[in-house]
Symmetry: C2
Subunit: 206 residues, 2 copies
């Protein structure tokens, strides 16, 4: 494993090192497995507005956000966007529907502010799972956590009003409003940006 002196590379090394530390909190990693992880990971600086995954195209990348903020969304038949996920530091993001079903992307993954992500190839992630099964429990942990957060999101959507969902959103993503447009948040909450604007007025009043 060669660590160059280039600043970008150093940064990469550090971000990935942190991720590997997280992996090691969950599983015991052999030196080979760790080296493999280093070999397949690639740090990327992504500037605001970049599209990492585009609807309709082939997907084979999974991103781990080390800094910044991305979001995934789909576009409906009327051209309206619906945000599935915001990914901030330490979150994974991709189009899992497309990857799991081996289909073209139905989601777009967009960068909301200049960010740094670690890019993995989905097949290479499968490769580590295949070659170094000791990695499996980490992947399982990530997936379980993801399922739990999706369950909570669905339950919130079913039982809370738009205002309650927004309040909760602010708690869950305290700093995100700096990076997002109102319509990003509205489309995550399942309301229009006009409604969100009115909700904010009501909150300010009280």
């Amino acid at each position: 494993m060669i660590i160059s002196n280039c600043i970008n590379q150093k940064h990469y090394y550090k971000a990935l090192e942190e991720l590997i530390k997280k992996v090691k909190n969950i599983v015991t990693l052999s030196a080979e497995a760790e080296a493999y992880l280093y070999s397949i990971a690639q740090e990327i600086s992504v500037s605001k507005g970049s599209i990492l995954i585009r609807e309709g195209q082939t997907v084979d990348k999974i991103y781990f956000v080390t800094h910044g903020c991305l979001r995934s969304y789909c576009t409906d038949k009327n051209g309206k966007e619906h945000t599935l996920q915001f990914a901030i530091k330490n979150w994974w993001i991709s189009d899992y529907i497309a990857i799991h079903n081996d289909e073209a992307a139905t989601l777009t993954v967009e960068c909301l502010k200049d960010s740094t992500v670690i890019e993995f190839n989905a097949q290479e992630i499968n490769g580590i799972l295949y070659q170094y099964p000791e990695y499996e429990p980490f992947q399982r942990f990530i997936l379980e956590r993801h399922v739990v957060s999706l369950h909570k999101r669905i339950l919130n959507q079913l039982q809370l009003t738009a205002t309650e969902r927004y309040d909760l959103f602010l708690v869950q993503y305290p700093d995100i409003e700096q990076y997002t447009r109102n319509y990003h948040i509205a489309s995550y909450l399942g309301i229009t940006q006009e409604s969100l604007s009115r909700i904010r007025v009501d909150i300010a009043k009280s």
Copy 2:
């Protein structure tokens, strides 16, 4: 492994055998791992109306439905129920939020028609993953599929009208209306039973 002559047990053996066949479609299972699976699985006949997991109580069971229909739901502060999941043949159901976070159940799992399920203890499932890591890819497959179905559900909730969601529901669960009350379906779709009733009238008209 002893197979008794008791009808119930025979039935159990067959249902579990089918599940193990599914496992083997994904992973190669050693004889020991298979035996362990047999040893921790327990077939249960559940009659309509039974509660398998109750809100507020400790959860350590995960159920695989081999026949029948269950649902999981939470109850909000106004006493209104919100259905998180219907589980029909070949689906897993539990309170994953509680299990993952090691908390008391926030969900109730209820049996909607006389059913047969294979009951697993969450710790014993962890046991098989720990002792027989060859089982991991199966668990991962289940989790990935679950994530994908939750992503789709959220996107549907964000972009479809109540009528469209109901139409889709009928496609996804074609026979379920035999087992469920209208308010079960309504609370899954995020509408009131009265609204669902009106939607059905509209559909019948057209």
